[in-house]
């Protein structure tokens, strides 16, 4: 890339930058040139010199001018009396006054209840992922910070499974992301097969993976095996599509292992040297034939066999595992099976396989090291479900399901303040049973947030809101995979005046200087990034600006070279020093050491009585090109591409229900209801429907109870809280039951949230109804008496 990041061209200033958030996105860091005229962002053009994006941009960055110049942006701090929550009675205030209020409220809680009574609610993907934990720990001194899906169901579960079993950061597809020459580097090999498992990267660019590099690889000959309840566009072009029943991924994994180990298709040399527990696993999976899996998963045994053979006998091949592993109770086991498949085939850290990395390098480490500012006695009070889920409590965050219980019951202590860190969880993104959260959060003495637009969450619940700057108006660093497997660092360069808006790190610093100055010695974002960069490199943020991106070095087969363990010894950073397909530590957590299948808590087989009333399996969360979860609904050219929330339903099912494409339909189960528009398509099987998430309607009345229509098309109203796995992770966002009927009124699901009555049962158990004997591999069978 050319040196320097700012040039003038006629009456425009051109600023080169990398993208992140807000507006929301994962840390993909695409390269772009921002055109600024008279201080205003007038155009965005992709930067052809960027090694990963190569000039390409997705619609969200191409609509950045609409975001930056939007009349509804929050541009200054605002306060509102607690009694006026839900009313549009915001009053503009200065930053000084805003900080005075925040400081005073935090001190009140510190003095009267202790810092642990403050809770920080974090969303996904945005820069918030890096800077929310430090705000909790090093500003508010509370250990209670969490990503807010039930069972922390996004990324966390996969990274924890990878930590426990691989002792490495996030295992990522090798798409030549570390090479300047990319696919042409002589060391690189194109993967022969890529398994896309519960993942649709074209739309989601997950965790900073560049989605359309799959098209680059398709053009270079990679074939696809897609394991997904949806026929995605990539699945329509795949050699094998395993269209499984949602939530049965572990059964697919076990059957694939049955084929690979049973037919002796695995890499013996790699297994002997580097994999622990292969013999035990081989013995264990003898019983899990593809025919066994066919009954459970609805995938023909031949397809499972064919896919397993193709994958195992074509080296190198690779796997990408997606959010579907996180959004189910049995996901940790599905993940264990998936890692086992990749490991026994010998595809770990080889060209064209799966790239491994040392976890938590660079800023990923700083974010969790800030926990030192939490008093150890306070830290010990973290609400992390230690008793029920000791494995979860070894992780960095509090337990969201248990926080909800604490909010409701004030046990073990009351939560008195919540800070929404650039997140909009009432919209169907994070919170399951959102009305329940709404009622619980209304009990707090004080709620605050920072964000870019007035969201239903802020309108409903907050007393103070701070204005967040878009990435075009800030200096920052983007690092794909948040430091867990980071192929480059990119400079985010301020192109326009932020006005009174501040970036996440600036808000952390300015709040931190009031509440805990010792943790926040830096004056500017640039100083902060210099300090972070210097922990690893001898250059500065200004050098990164000039360079554009800094591609990290990577070598293959790091386990042979002592590059995956802090002690520099060869092997993996696990207790056995090997990849553990049989865990040496799960037993201590009360978890079975080998992967097993557990029927979803609510399914045609585990709850057959409910299935009579709610015959369809509901999956949610598939992404769209033109939004990031609940974001971008107010951006005209993006909303125009997808104006309504869509329920995808098979043509035969739709015909039987008298539903036509475009009809409004009501999706219901025993927890709640939601209205979406029918999209009649063969994308889903006859017994499955897929509902879009993240919907609210910024154009509608924002005041309570409507709250920008947040209750109308809120698919998370059908998802229960606290149906998690033994490790404390995973929840059934992608697997409950429902029925669908045609309605004429798009507001048919609207309901006053205060009328919501939460179910009696708030425990981590399943919906037991005596079906344990019928399904032989239920959780209960491995945990008798629980």
């Amino acid at each position: 890339m050319k040196k320097g990041y700012k040039t003038e061209q006629g009456d425009e200033v051109l600023v080169r930058t990398c993208g992140w958030s807000p507006p929301g996105d994962h840390p993909v860091g695409c390269g772009m040139i921002l055109h600024v005229k008279d201080g205003k962002l007038v155009k965005v053009e992709g930067d052809p010199e960027h090694p990963i994006s190569q000039g390409r941009l997705c619609p969200r960055c191409l609509a950045l001018t609409e975001f930056e110049n939007h009349p509804d942006r929050i541009r200054y701090p605002m306060k509102r009396a607690k009694a006026d929550r839900g009313k549009d009675k915001w009053e503009r205030i200065s930053w000084d006054e805003a900080l005075d209020i925040l400081e005073e409220e935090v001190h009140k809680i510190w003095d009267n209840y202790g810092p642990e009574s403050i809770f920080v609610s974090q969303g996904t993907g945005r820069q918030a992922s890096l800077y929310a934990p430090p705000m909790a720990n090093a500003c508010f001194k509370t250990p209670n910070i969490s990503f807010m899906m039930s069972g922390s169901s996004c990324y966390g579960p996969r990274t924890v499974v990878a930590d426990f079993l691989l002792g490495a950061g996030y295992p990522e597809l090798d798409y030549a992301q570390f090479f300047e020459q990319r696919y042409d580097d002589p060391e690189y090999e194109v993967p022969k097969y890529i398994i896309l498992w519960g993942k649709s990267p074209l739309q989601s660019n997950p965790d900073g993976f560049y989605g359309h590099s799959l098209i680059d690889l398709m053009k270079r000959g990679s074939k696809f095996i897609v394991i997904d309840p949806r026929l995605t566009w990539l699945a329509s072009r795949a050699e094998y599509h395993l269209q499984l029943r949602p939530g049965t991924d572990a059964a697919i994994g076990l059957a694939m292992l049955h084929v690979i180990l049973g037919e002796d298709l695995y890499d013996h040399e790699f297994c002997e040297n580097w994999v622990f527990g292969v013999d035990e696993l081989a013995e264990h999976v003898k019983q899990f034939t593809p025919e066994w899996a066919e009954e459970i998963t609805w995938v023909p045994a031949d397809v499972i066999r064919g896919a397993a053979r193709a994958f195992a006998t074509n080296a190198p091949s690779s796997i990408m595992w997606g959010l579907a592993f996180d959004t189910q109770q049995n996901g940790a086991q599905a993940g264990q099976a998936m890692l086992a498949i990749a490991s026994v085939c010998g595809y770990m850290d080889v060209p064209g396989g799966i790239i491994l990395a040392l976890p938590s390098s660079f800023m990923g480490r700083w974010r969790f090291e800030t926990s030192q500012y939490v008093d150890p006695e306070v830290f010990a009070k973290r609400i992390d479900a230690k008793e029920d889920h000791p494995a979860y409590a070894t992780g960095p965050m509090c337990h969201p399901d248990s926080i909800l219980t604490a909010l409701e019951t004030e046990q073990p202590y009351p939560i008195k303040m919540t800070y929404f860190y650039g997140s909009n969880p009432l919209s169907p993104t994070c919170y399951a049973e959102p009305e329940r959260w709404y009622n619980a959060l209304m009990k707090c003495d004080f709620n605050a947030a920072h964000d870019v637009f007035m969201t239903p969450t802020i309108m409903a619940l907050c007393d103070l809101v701070l204005p967040l700057a878009g990435f075009a108006a800030q200096d920052a660093v983007v690092l794909p995979h948040f430091g867990r497997n980071t192929h480059f660092l990119g400079a985010i360069n301020q192109a326009i005046d932020p006005g009174e808006c501040k970036s996440d790190i600036e808000i952390d610093m300015i709040v931190g200087k009031r509440l805990n100055p010792e943790a926040w010695p830096w004056e500017t974002a640039e100083e902060f990034f210099d300090a972070q960069i210097h922990t690893q490199y001898d250059w500065d943020f200004s050098d990164l600006r000039d360079a554009g991106v800094f591609q990290q070095k990577q070598v293959y087969r790091k386990y042979e070279k002592g590059l995956l363990r802090p002690d520099g010894e060869p092997g993996f950073n696990t207790p056995t020093g090997m990849i553990e397909v049989q865990s040496s530590i799960y037993d201590d957590f009360g978890e079975y050491d080998l992967p097993f299948f557990m029927e979803p808590a609510m399914s045609p087989y585990s709850t057959p009585e409910l299935a009579k009333e709610y015959p369809l399996v509901l999956t949610t969360g598939g992404r769209d090109f033109v939004s990031f979860h609940s974001e971008h609904r107010q951006i005209p050219s993006l909303r125009n591409c997808t104006p309504d929330p869509l329920l995808t339903i098979n043509p035969k099912t739709a015909a039987a229900l008298g539903i036509n494409d475009g009809d409004w339909v009501l999706i219901e189960n025993q927890f709640g209801k939601c209205c979406e528009r029918a999209r009649v398509s063969y994308e889903v099987a006859e017994r499955v429907v897929h509902a879009a998430h993240g919907w609210w309607f910024p154009e509608q009345d924002g005041e309570f109870p409507n709250l920008f229509g947040v209750w109308k098309s809120n698919i998370n109203r059908l998802i229960p809280m606290y149906k998690v796995g033994k490790l404390g992770y995973g929840a059934p966002y992608k697997g409950v039951l429902c029925k669908v009927t045609k309605v004429s009124d798009p507001d048919a699901a609207m309901q006053d949230p205060t009328a919501y009555v939460a179910g009696e049962d708030r425990g981590p158990n399943s919906f037991e109804d005596g079906s344990a004997e019928k399904s032989p591999y239920l959780y209960q069978n491995f945990h008798p008496g629980e």
Binding site: K43, V44, E45, G46, P48, G55, R56, L57, C58, P59, L62, A63, T65, L202, Q203, G211, H212, I215, D216, M218, K219, L231, W233, A235, S236, R237, F625, V626, P636, S637, L638, N640, C641, S681, Y682, E683
Partner: protein
Amino acid sequence: MTQYAMIIDYKYCTGCHTCEVACRQEKQIESQEEWGIKFAEFGPMRQGDEWYWDYVPVPSNLCDLCVDRIEEGKKPACAHHCLAKCMEVVSVDEVPARLTDLGAGGVAVFMP
């Protein structure tokens, strides 16, 4: 004056909407009722024993093939940003050779 044509290797088109939004920005088409390029979706349907599912972007009467950009040595805005790198605008003379290179399976040529 050179005559240009747009070639879309639509077998790789993922329906990402990038061309639509890029064109909107480039040509400053603010009304959501109008567009410079828009794709049609065919499928997913079983045809023969395969899935058929294609997106085919079609430039409208508002498309001028970004001749200004081409003359400055740049790609048209849609092609520049296309996530699948499956669009190009070439002079009409070059079309047959490009079609031969791209091969069958879903390629379209437009002269809007």
